[in-house]
């Protein structure tokens, strides 16, 4: 028994090292253009662009397989920034992929949650804490507001709540100033 455990952990460690190394190697050799595009994408990881995350979409743009106007969370500003980076004509955001919404975060209704962990598996950024049969919670600072956890919840206990500005995060409107 002990042998099996130690063998497995050594195996896991070795594998981890190999993969970690591979990741670093991959990064170094990766296309710097993909990194630059990825830096502009909002990292919501929502998949609305039809790719399973921002990086895959960045790769698709870099290889010319996708248009630059497929990311609703990035908004028109994001499209413009991509156009500038790639030195191409800008496009209007493609409405087929969805509309730009204000920043929201997921809130779990603790009273209803049955602890099924389906949301944990769906979240692209591991923003949930909890384990099987214990109610789940969202780490506010990690949630990107991607909506991916909504459809998987069997009891519909996840709500998307808009993030409202507070006194600490308030930004005055500079255009209003110009009209003074």
């Amino acid at each position: 028994m002990l042998d099996a455990v130690s063998i497995l952990s050594i195996l896991a460690l070795a594998l981890g090292l190999v993969l970690g190394y591979a990741a670093i190697r991959y990064k170094v050799e990766g296309n710097p253009l993909v990194d630059q595009i990825d830096a502009i994408l909002p990292q919501t990881q929502c998949g609305q662009c039809d790719f399973p995350g921002c990086r895959p979409y960045a790769e698709a743009i870099a290889s010319g397989e996708a248009e630059i106007n497929q990311c609703p969370p990035g908004g028109q500003d994001g499209v413009d920034a991509l156009a500038e980076l790639l030195d191409v004509e800008t496009l209007t955001l493609n409405a087929e992929h969805g509309e730009t919404k204000p920043k929201r975060i997921a809130v779990v209704d603790e009273k209803v949650c049955i602890g099924c962990t389906l949301c944990i598996q769906a979240c692209p950024v591991d923003a949930f804490v909890g384990s099987s049969k214990v109610m789940t919670q969202v780490i506010v600072s990690e949630c990107t507001g991607c909506d991916l956890c909504l459809p998987v919840c069997p009891v519909d206990c996840i709500d998307m709540v808009e993030v409202k500005p507070t006194i600490n995060t308030f930004v005055p409107n500079v255009l209003e100033l110009a009209n003074v």
Binding site: L8, L11, A12, L15, G16, L19, G20, A23, D38, P42, Q43, T44, Q45, G53, C54, R55, P124, V125, D126, A127, S141, E142, T144, P165, T166, I167, N168, T169, F170, V171, P172, N173, V174, L177, A178, V180
Partner: protein, 505 residues
């Protein structure tokens, strides 16, 4: 010795001088509204519930963050609401407040465990904690928690007491010094005792003759000097004060504590005295009521949380629609109506007769803003970059060193509200920095998750592989064994047959 002055700035008269600088204690308000959001950190969490009876000085909200200050009840009575109220802030946003209705008794919590006059016997740690638990923040208007500032300044050589009055028109420091000269001196001594500085300088603008005289009369401590400095606006800004008094330049992006100096407002020192010697947490402050619609400006000692309406009812206000401005004429904020309450950093309320605001014109590049900037920035450049939201460039031009004093806006012949642009740029910078942190974090977490899933998949594959191999080996072994057994059987059989045939023969 230097003449204690500095480059830039403005010589401004008090627009509404008072005949007499008295400190008037106004009666207890019927109700107080105390905000949970303070200058830095998160919102404090109320530790009382609606219906609870509280005593004056009782803690009603705490905060986990050690750098921040707790909130105390400023009157005794019943908690009647814990809800969102509009803040006296340019955003007009709401924030959580605790409302207490007075029982008219002003019954204090037990405050018998003070260090008393013999604070010398208290360790600096004890006194430091006392300041922290008394909810004291900078009373000059910035509202930074005092204990945190003291902590940052550990090992400082000089304590500067800022009694310059932040802006023309505000008189609360002057009124406080004239009312409590001994408390000021004792407060300085308490702070000297814990911060370790060798000497303290109390800096007072030279137009406050009575205060200077009084403090000199009551100060018997040779470690404390009282300096009269020229009356010139922004002399009280920390960076400027350190430079004009000590000739020490605070580097860009730095603080007074970086050069071994601790700066505290004179109001803060009185609060420290009250907390340490009398065990009274911060529950009141001095507010100047002035402006063109006020017949005689006044300085009122007010319980925190009292409504503007209540406080203004003690001033002689001319009838009609008036404009309300919180804090000074240079750095203050215009407010809509009077539905607010006095907070720890409300040093002044202006009530002005409405005047037509001159409309802003294009910048004519006259450079007047550049000459008056006391921090020696280039306001004109900052304006261009802020206006075009070019935060990177604005930061290059030291946007973050701007103290928002408003000297540049004041002299601008085109009436451009320059400071508003800098405030916008600073807020935008804060937002962008936070967003960048969040996206970087999300990217990292996404990539880690991909990696984890991939690793799990591989691990599972390896495990399956290992199992398969083991099974195969086992099967092979089984087979070999079977063959061996069969072979043995065969041999036995053969031997048997041989024996049998032999026997038969």
């Amino acid at each position: 010795m230097s003449n204690f002055t500095f480059k830039g700035g403005l010589v401004l008269e008090n627009p509404f001088p008072a005949k007499e600088i008295d400190l008037i204690r106004i009666p207890l308000p019927d109700r107080v509204v105390l905000p949970m959001q303070q200058r830095i950190g998160d919102q404090a969490k109320p530790c009382v519930s609606v219906g609870d009876h509280v005593l004056t000085g009782q803690v009603i909200a705490t905060i986990d963050d050690d750098r921040c200050a707790p909130v105390h009840a400023s009157i005794s009575g019943t908690v009647v609401a814990i809800d969102n109220q509009v803040m006296a802030h340019q955003s007009g946003l709401e924030a959580l407040c605790v409302t207490i209705e007075s029982d008219g008794e002003d019954e204090w919590m037990d405050n018998s465990v003070a260090c008393t006059e013999n604070y010398d016997f208290c360790t600096p740690d004890t006194i430091y904690n006392k300041i922290r638990l008394s909810g004291i923040v900078g009373m000059g208007g910035a509202g930074f928690p005092t204990h945190t500032k003291v902590q940052f300044a550990e090992g400082c050589h000089t304590l500067i007491v800022n009694a310059t009055e932040c802006e023309p028109g505000i008189m609360c420091d002057d009124a406080l010094m004239q009312a409590y000269p001994t408390k000021v001196i004792r407060g300085v001594e308490v702070l000297l005792h814990i911060c370790g500085a060798e000497k303290a300088i109390i800096a007072i603008e030279d137009d406050k003759k009575e205060s200077i005289e009084l403090l000199r009369k009551f100060c018997k401590n040779e470690r404390i000097t009282i300096e009269a400095i020229p009356t010139k606006y922004t002399s009280g800004a920390e960076k400027i004060l350190v430079k004009s008094l000590l000739g020490i330049e605070i580097p860009s992006g730095g603080y007074a504590s970086d050069v071994g100096v601790l700066c505290q407002n004179v109001g803060t020192l009185v609060a420290i005295f009250d907390a340490v010697v009398e065990n009274r947490p911060l529950i009141s402050r001095v507010v100047t009521i002035t402006g063109s619609a006020i017949k005689e400006p006044k300085n009122l000692q007010v319980r925190l949380g009292a409504s503007y309406d209540y406080v203004l009812s003690f001033a002689d206000i001319e009838q009609g629609e008036n404009d309300i401005r919180m804090a000074g004429m240079m750095m203050g904020v215009d407010l809509e109506g009077t539905n607010y309450s006095i907070s720890k950093n409300t040093n002044c309320i202006f009530v002005n007769k409405p005047i037509e605001k001159p409309s802003a014109q294009e910048c004519i590049r006259c450079g007047m803003c550049n000459t008056v900037c006391p921090v020696e920035l280039l306001p004109q450049q900052l304006y261009w970059y802020s206006k075009s939201s070019n935060i990177e460039k604005a930061l290059d031009y030291n946007l973050l060193d701007c103290i928002e004093c408003g000297c540049c806006s004041h002299v601008c012949p085109s009436n451009i509200p320059l400071v508003d642009y800098y405030q916008f740029a600073k807020a935008l910078n804060k937002q962008q920095t936070k967003e960048k942190e969040q996206t970087d974090n999300a990217r990292e977490r996404f990539e880690f998750r991909e990696f984890r899933l991939e690793r799990n998949k591989q691990e599972r594959a390896e495990m399956m592989e290992a199992k398969k191999k083991a099974l195969k080996e086992k099967m092979a072994k089984d087979k070999a064994q079977k063959i061996a057994i069969a072979a043995a059987q065969e041999r036995v059989n053969a031997a048997k047959t041989a024996k049998e045939s032999e026997d038969a023969r």
